[in-house]
């Protein structure tokens, strides 16, 4: 297999990328790590006129803490999140999710921002970003927008990103309070897309009650789902077994799975419930064990 012909441009500056996107709009596709785009090109599900490779643009990689946020350059590779061990205790869910994305070779190339913009309903980062309340910085020739993860995922492979925009950064708020989270993924074999996966991230207040809760569901709907009713059921509560079970039930109800070779809709919905329940227990234990 090989892709349909396209023009390839590898700008060295972001301004140049934005100019090209302005010029070509929907005819252009941005290439970061290529681990989603290149398979689509090979299958000819995508046949852009122009491929804009942002691999040579400086300033799009790396993870750093700044002004109460963890800031992840959009072109940061999955592998580099996997090895960012200093996120343990702050953003457990990222560290737990990264090694479960595809396989080690794909993680060496694939990028966080690329995966988010690709918006596969079974993509892992979408659910994680919903759980941690991330914001996405996107740029175009006419300026910058900061889009909350909530609402960004509109449908299969469809997001709030405009055709003339490119994602440059992911910002995750990391405030005071003890936090914990985890990512649980059911896959048929190593490297497969999720049959079901769930991301949870909670912050406990000084009184031991849940200050904030984030729950993201992967592969159980047309896009990554934020389980808002389940989150609301946790906030302000003591994280007892009963409260967690109730939140998990609501998360299961938020899932909109379809039956396929990976399982029936009922099965997937129940896996989502069980994983959120297990995940919340892990998250609470981690938060309670964490230093304030």
């Amino acid at each position: 297999m090989f892709p349909a012909a396209f023009d390839y441009i590898a700008p060295s500056a972001l301004d140049e990328v934005l100019g090209l996107l302005n010029e070509h709009g929907d005819d252009a596709k941005v290439l970061a790590g290529g681990q989603s785009l290149i398979p689509l090109l090979k299958l000819r599900f995508a046949a852009p006129v122009v491929v804009i490779d942002i691999g040579g643009v400086d300033g799009l990689e790396g993870i750093r803490r700044e002004n109460g946020h963890v800031r992840i350059g959009a072109r940061t590779r999955h592998r580099d999140v996997e090895s960012a061990v200093d996120l343990r205790g702050t953003l457990d869910v990222l560290l737990d999710a990264a090694p479960l994305i595809s396989d080690p070779l794909i993680r060496n190339m694939g990028t966080v921002g690329g995966s988010i913009c690709h918006a596969d309903p079974a993509g892992d980062w979408g659910a994680v970003m919903l759980a941690v309340g991330a914001e996405f910085v996107v740029k175009s020739g006419s300026g910058e927008r900061v889009l909350p993860a909530a609402g960004f995922f509109e449908g299969p492979f469809t997001t709030g990103l405009h055709a003339n925009e490119v994602m440059t950064e992911i910002r995750i708020p990391v405030g005071a309070g003890r936090s914990g989270g985890t990512y649980l993924k059911l896959e048929r074999k190593v490297g497969d897309f999720a049959s079901v996966a769930t991301a949870v991230h909670i912050v406990l207040g000084d009184d031991g009650r849940v200050a904030t809760a984030g729950i993201g569901l992967c592969a159980v709907g047309a896009h990554s789902i934020k389980a808002t009713a389940a989150e609301a059921a946790l906030v302000g509560q003591e994280p007892t077994d009963a409260v967690i079970a109730d939140a998990a039930r609501l998360a299961g109800e938020a899932a909109e799975p379809k039956a396929d070779i990976r399982g029936s809709a009922e099965y997937k919905r129940d896996v989502a419930r069980v994983f959120v329940q297990r995940g919340l227990h892990t998250a609470v234990n981690r938060a309670q064990g964490a230093a304030a």
Partner: protein, 161 residues
């Protein structure tokens, strides 16, 4: 378009269509057929090469993405007729049957023990989880990588002494 990169230590400058996949460039344009095409869908790892030292799937890379990079294929493992430790490991431990996955397995193994000189069995199995072997059941592949890690460790100790 022209793409310039280093492969197994030699600089190459080739004219390619942008849509050329790296595995096709290596096999067809450069005539180096040690890099295999297995699934052609990013699943099997038979096409593994090292890109700036990290293993990647060359069926899922476009040729122009190589600009300015260093590529290592299985042909680049032996130096001056001397097998690399990873090749010796696969030979000694019989880490192959049909051999189709072997170039990819060796490159992944080499990158793994360079990053982590004393991997556990779990770490090795995790490291090769993007490469599929349909013959061996992986036992001897794991042993081969352990063999190479041990040989490297022994050589480093000898160097110090």
């Amino acid at each position: 378009m022209k793409v310039t990169f280093e492969i197994n230590g030699a600089e190459k400058s080739v004219d390619v269509e942008p849509r050329t996949l790296v595995v096709d460039l290596i096999r067809t344009k450069l005539g180096m057929t040690g890099t295999h095409i297995g699934c052609d869908t990013s699943n099997c790892g038979a096409c593994t090469v090292l890109l700036d030292g990290r293993p990647v799937k060359s069926c899922t890379l476009l040729a122009p993405m190589l600009e300015g990079k260093k590529v290592t294929t299985v042909e680049g493992l032996a130096t001056g007729g001397k097998l690399d430790a990873i090749q010796v490991g696969f030979h000694e431990e019989h880490g192959l049957q049909c051999g189709f996955c072997t170039p990819g397995m060796m490159l992944v193994g080499k990158a793994l023990i360079e990053a982590n000189p004393h991997p556990t069995e779990d770490e090795i199995r995790w490291g090769i989880s993007g490469n599929i072997c349909r013959c061996t059941g992986y036992m001897n592949i794991v042993k081969a990588i352990q063999h190479a890690a041990a040989a490297n460790a022994a050589e480093n100790t000898a160097g110090v002494a």
